[in-house]
Amino acid sequence: MDAASESNLVESVCLPFFLRAQNADGGWGFLPGSPSRSESTCWALLGLMHGSAGTGSQASHRGLAFLRASQLPDGSWPATPDEKIGCWVTSLATLTLLGFAPESPEVAAALQWICKDWPADSAPWRRFLARFSSQRDVAPINNAYRGWGWTPATSSWVEPTSFALLALGCAPASLLPSQAIQRRQLGEALLYDRMCPGGGWNCGNPNVYGVAGEPLAGPTVWALLALQGQKNRQENRSSLAWLEASANDMKAATSAALARICLQAYDRPLPAKSLRLGPLLQASDYSLNAQSVALSCIALGEQQLSFLPSPMTELRRA
């Protein structure tokens, strides 16, 4: 499939998927016909934004209304509509809203929540107790670095930390809480600490019982996108090299789309014979869900990637 027909995938597969799958309440489920949830609605909105529909389509307006209505009073977003506690989806929702209405009060409230959401595993008293644990050498990581968890008051992991860093990094300086710089510094340090030996990331276990963890496409791409401000760091370069070397083995739409997004963000050429999304999206319709289609839209769409964190230096000046 050549480049022209690849870009046609947005019109022929991705946008029809979103238009077909949008629910009456304006939101999206992960699969057509399933109830709306915040996360899948974010993916759909990001897909529409980066695809040719842009930010002004009626589908986007309805989706945005659903997303705003799903925000909890404390500024966070829950994983399911019946849940009353927010989670990592807050970062994704913030990132989504930043593409539509960056100065909105919803974004300001969400940023406050993100900065107050500390992981529990690295609380000072837990770090003190961990010194005496018989398990302290099993998975050696530096608990002084603190990121974000999938759910509140648990442990830091690579992907939720990356999403939070992207949200904080892409937000207007005027809306950022005072702790934002500290949280970004700690979060970035955590990502570098959790990198697998040789480059790349998995969910956040670089080493267990002395065995090096294997990187995965998803966490590697989100971490690299969150760390775009330090493109020339050796860790970024070796992780990018791992991603490029792994491209030939990527046989799934989500990983392939993510790899394309990342290589484009780092101004790297796409491999000539791999990461083709057409066959992956069309070969098996079980692969079509809100996230995989949205990432394909972002990878193939005409709009420039909207996730570009501002350098920390600019933030300090602001």
Partner: protein, 302 residues
């Protein structure tokens, strides 16, 4: 909706566990499984059967995940037994890209099109369930509707050691029904609530009706993903996940009563003791294949 009754083990009838030899994945697994399952007289006619394999990560060498040949053989067997539908569902714990895992195990080559057969439990519709038991700190969980709506649930793990829980078999395999879209990758709330305790609560909420363990090639040492392959050449199946897991432990040269969660499961979820398990097929002693464990679990070995 599934709502397994919790019966103290002393009130349960004896369980039935069968051990069948299978030296590799190339043989007539479907007929072997069909003949074996028929002996259990399972109530699956016109029912929806959900097979829950262990699909935990990318698996280029084929000893991390339940082998697709076993999954396909089970699917074919339940259809032959009259099931209306046989679905395959899992929610991988470490990698969000389920399609990548399915491609790496080549499930499509064994099953055919996956569109109507496979359910990604990580992104399935969910329903909140208040837990019946209080082993962990969890009070309730969002669980996939496909799991809750299945008439007959089959846990299909790989026979493996596990670096946090000792062993991962049909009970631990049920971690995979907890949806990542609610709890993340990994499903860290379960670790915070206590791995052993969470295994008990999840199985009390959605106890498998049957278990089929792929022990043809398993994993020893630093499992569930970083260990080394270990061939036992067996399939272990039965109508009680606790009894099946304890039989697997005995095959692996481990004492089931020393596996924390299994010892507790033996009081409420099924039978642990040999005298309450009717052993069919091969004798345990004949197929016994000791698995190495990490030093932290050396006390499990017998």
């Amino acid at each position: 909706m599934r709502s397994p009754s919790l019966t103290p083990s002393f009130q349960r009838p004896p369980s039935r566990v069968m051990i069948r030899r299978a030296s590799d994945y190339r043989g007539e697994l479907a007929s072997l499984l069909f003949e074996s399952l028929r002996e259990f007289h399972l109530p699956v006619r016109d029912k929806i059967v959900l097979l829950k394999p262990n699909l935990v990560g990318l698996d280029p060498y084929g000893f991390i995940n339940t082998h697709p040949a076993v999954i396909a053989a089970a699917r074919e067997s339940f259809l032959r037994l009259g099931a209306a539908r046989v679905l395959i569902g899992d929610g991988p714990a470490l990698d969000r890209d389920t399609q990548a895992i399915l491609e790496s195990v080549r499930l499509k080559d064994y099953i055919g099109t996956l569109a109507q057969a496979f359910v990604d439990l990580n992104i399935d519709e969910v329903q909140y369930i208040a837990l019946k038991t209080r082993a962990s700190r969890l009070r309730g969980l969002h669980l996939p509707k496909t799991v809750l709506g299945a008439d007959f649930l089959v846990s299909m793990p790989k026979m493996k050691t596990h670096h946090w829980a000792g062993v991962t078999l049909s009970l631990k395999n049920m971690f995979g029904i907890v949806p990542g879209s609610c709890y993340g990758w990994p499903k860290n709330v379960l670790h915070w609530a206590g791995i052993n305790q969470s295994i008990l609560d999840i199985n009390a909420a959605a106890r498998p009706d049957f278990a089929i363990v792929d022990g043809i090639v398993g994993m020893e040492g630093n499992g569930p993903i970083q260990g080394t392959s270990k061939a036992s050449g067996v399939l272990v199946l039965g109508n009680d996940p606790v009894a099946v897991d304890s039989t697997c432990c005995r095959i692996m040269g481990l004492a089931p009563e020393r596996v924390k969660y299994l010892a507790q499961a033996g009081t409420l979820l099924g039978h642990l003791k040999l005298d309450k398990i009717q052993q069919l097929g091969e004798n345990i002693a004949v197929v016994r294949t000791p698995f190495t464990v990490l030093d932290a679990f050396s006390g499990l070995s017998v």
